[in-house]
């Protein structure tokens, strides 16, 4: 390495933040859903829909800010499908999540071809992209605000307490007069909004939408949530760690040293290790994955 160490460190730091933004959004989204007791494997699909709709609206309206709103709305809409299936119709949460992901892989390419006349990817013009605020896109600042907001909401407000109660012990929450289904529905929709925003970051960053461009980021976000012990700050830290691994991998590419695949595998391997309880057990919310059915009167 020829450049001074300080320059190298700064550029690595900046790259880490850039890589982490979508993960931070999506893992914060996952936090809402999972802490309310609904497993969200569909984060990946919600991100992909966010990436697609953010890019599409930006291109059609020539307005990236409208694109952001579009990504959030579509993310919320897809989350509604997941919520409707799992909460209202009591479908298995994992199966529904798998369906959401399939829907995203097929649906976004399908719609790209419909809107873009047979093309399987499309580019954003200069006017369709978000401006840079300093070294980062505006979303990079927003994601940290979202984490702070999620922390305050979940641990210092009454609705946040309700959210966690519903995920730990729905029956007790119900006895307290909390509408379990409604809280869960809202939480899942919130996770869709955040995952959508996280997905939208990708086309704004790269300048185009491409088939399956999330390529597993939603699952890495899920991994960050688990590795961060289902806490927004922990998930953020894990996202930054995973982002760092990715940035390091890119920076070191072509400079010898470890093969890039070692860094690529880090998030996944660490999550498996964390789940096995080797580095302090990561404990899921008690009611995660369980349907809640009110006892029928009489």
């Amino acid at each position: 390495m020829t450049e001074p160490v300080a320059v190298f460190a700064l550029s690595l730091l900046a790259a880490t933040v850039r890589k982490s933004v979508p993960l931070i959004f999506a893992s914060t989204g996952g936090f809402f859903s999972e802490r309310s007791g609904v497993i969200n494997i569909g984060l990946e699909g919600m991100m992909l829909f966010g990436a697609f709709s953010g890019a599409l609206v930006a291109v059609l309206a020539h307005n990236p800010w409208l694109g952001l709103i579009g990504a959030a709305v579509v993310g919320a809409f897809i989350a509604c499908v997941h919520a409707l299936a799992t909460i209202t119709f009591r479908a298995n949460q994992i199966i529904s999540g798998v369906a959401v992901n399939l829907l995203a892989v097929g649906g976004t390419v399908f719609l790209t071809q419909v809107f873009m006349g047979g093309e399987r990817s499309f580019s954003l013009g200069p006017a369709d992209r978000l401006p840079m605020w300093g070294p980062f896109l505006p979303l990079a600042y927003l994601c940290f605000i979202c984490v702070a907001g999620a922390c305050i909401f979940a641990y210092y407000t009454v609705p946040g307490l309700r959210l966690r109660a519903v995920g730990e012990h729905p029956r007790a929450a119900d006895t307290q007069g909390i509408n379990v289904a409604r809280v869960r529905f809202a939480a899942v929709v919130m996770s869709g909004v955040l995952a959508g925003l996280g997905g939208a970051y990708l086309p704004y960053f790269s300048g185009s939408f491409a088939k399956n461009m999330t390529s597993g980021l939603g699952f890495i976000a899920l991994a960050a949530l688990i590795f961060g012990k289902w806490h927004p700050a922990g998930a953020m830290a894990a996202s930054l760690l995973f982002g760092f691994a990715d940035a390091l991998q890119e920076t070191l590419q072509g400079r010898g040293g470890l093969p890039p695949q070692v860094f690529q595998a880090i998030p996944y391997v660490l999550t498996v290790v964390a789940l096995a309880g080797v580095i302090g057990r990561s404990r899921p919310p008690a009611a995660l994955g369980r349907h809640y059915e009110r006892e029928s009167p009489g």
Binding site: V81, A91, I95, A99, V109, V114, G118, L275, E293
Partner: protein, 352 residues
């Protein structure tokens, strides 16, 4: 618990209703595109069943789905979600390609058997990782199988880039397997078909898994653990042992799917390896109600969708991704069988 003992009408009607609903939603999508659903359906049917060549295409598409559908189904019958079929398939495909080009001097029967068996074993080992973590630490197999999918892609990508495995050139792929390892294609049906002996092996697996699950003690124990682990443990059935057995068989089947793709279709391993059979297996198992015969039927159904969808892509301006969308819609509706069952059998008390 997990869709275990519903037989007869109560077992078949909810998936059929779900299929009908999925058909309606798909028709609406097609209408929105300004195409006629009837025409699309016609192209789909002729494209998947209309001629010998299209039937061969359908069965070719169905072959890996039979394996991955069985993979998901047997895990599910033991109470486990194996979402890792994708990764187990990739590991199996890599091993099949390696053994296929590296080991020479065998006759075809020996060579193919060796490749398929080692591919299956690799898939089984890959599936045993989450199996052991589940049995030993109670770590959730869903997350672990998903994570190991990506580890498998990355590992295979790494290995195929090594000089030892990589065919000289720009593309990260192995040498083609030797002709003694190729699964013979059924060219008597249609000259250019990629349908191969793997289909027959898949059918044999359906029968074997059926017999294993329904007629043997091992199968009984697996189903028992899936149905009620606590009661099984109380009656002396080892939950740990059966978890591991089910995951190993499940991974073995996914590994075999990988070997079929390599030895019968692609002839080498390439990174990234064609993606999606593992996840589609979840749809197949779900629609087939986790029964071997059901898996066979629904794999052929999804195979027909795929080959019909390819024809739709060529003949109309509806993109082939419609098929993936339909798959997703089918999964959602089949998963929402609770309200459907309520609708069809309003008076029957149903447990979930």
């Amino acid at each position: 618990m997990r869709g275990e003992v519903r037989t007869g009408l109560a077992g078949v009607i909810p998936p059929l209703v779900a299929l009908a609903l999925a058909g309606i939603v798909s028709s609406v999508i097609v209408l929105l595109l300004g195409e006629s659903p009837l025409r699309i359906a016609e192209v789909m049917v002729t494209g998947s069943l209309g001629s010998l060549s299209s039937i061969a295409n359908t069965l070719e598409e169905a072959t890996p789905l039979i394996f991955t559908g069985l993979c998901v189904a047997i895990a599910m019958r033991s109470g486990l979600f194996n979402i890792g079929g994708e990764g187990q398939l990739v590991v199996g495909a890599f091993v099949a390609a390696w053994v296929g080009y590296r080991v020479g001097g065998l006759n075809p029967v020996m060579h193919i058997t060796l490749c398929v068996a080692l591919a299956g074993a690799a898939g089984a080992l890959w599936a045993l990782i989450p199996g052991i973590l589940k049995a030993r630490f109670g770590a959730h197999e869903v997350i672990n199988t998903i994570m190991l999918n990506y580890v498998a892609f990355i590992l295979a990508n790494f290995l195929v880039g090594l000089p030892y495995f990589k065919k000289p050139g720009q593309i990260p792929q192995t040498e083609d397997v030797l002709s003694s390892a190729l699964l013979p294609r059924m060219t008597f049906l249609y000259e250019y078909t990629r349908l191969n002996l793997g289909f027959v092996i898949a059918i044999a697996c359906v029968l074997i898994i059926y017999i294993l699950l329904e007629k043997t003690e091992v199968g009984f124990e697996i189903r028992s653990v899936g149905h009620n682990p606590l009661a099984s443990r109380a009656s002396g059935i080892s939950v740990v042992r059966n978890t591991l057995i089910a995951m190993a068989i499940s991974g073995f089947l996914a590994g075999m799917a990988g070997s079929e793709r390599v030895l019968g279709v692609h002839r080498h391993f390439i990174s990234p390896f064609p993606f999606g059979y593992g996840f589609a297996g979840i749809a197949v198992a779900l629609l087939g109600r986790n029964r071997p015969m059901g898996v066979l039927v629904s794999a052929v159904f999804f195979g027909a969708l795929a080959s019909g969808g390819a024809q739709v892509d060529i003949e109309t301006n509806v993109p082939r991704e419609l098929v993936t969308v339909i798959q997703a819609i089918v999964i959602i509706f089949v998963a929402c069988e609770y309200p459907i069952r309520k609708l069809v059998f309003p008076r029957r008390r149903t447990a979930t």
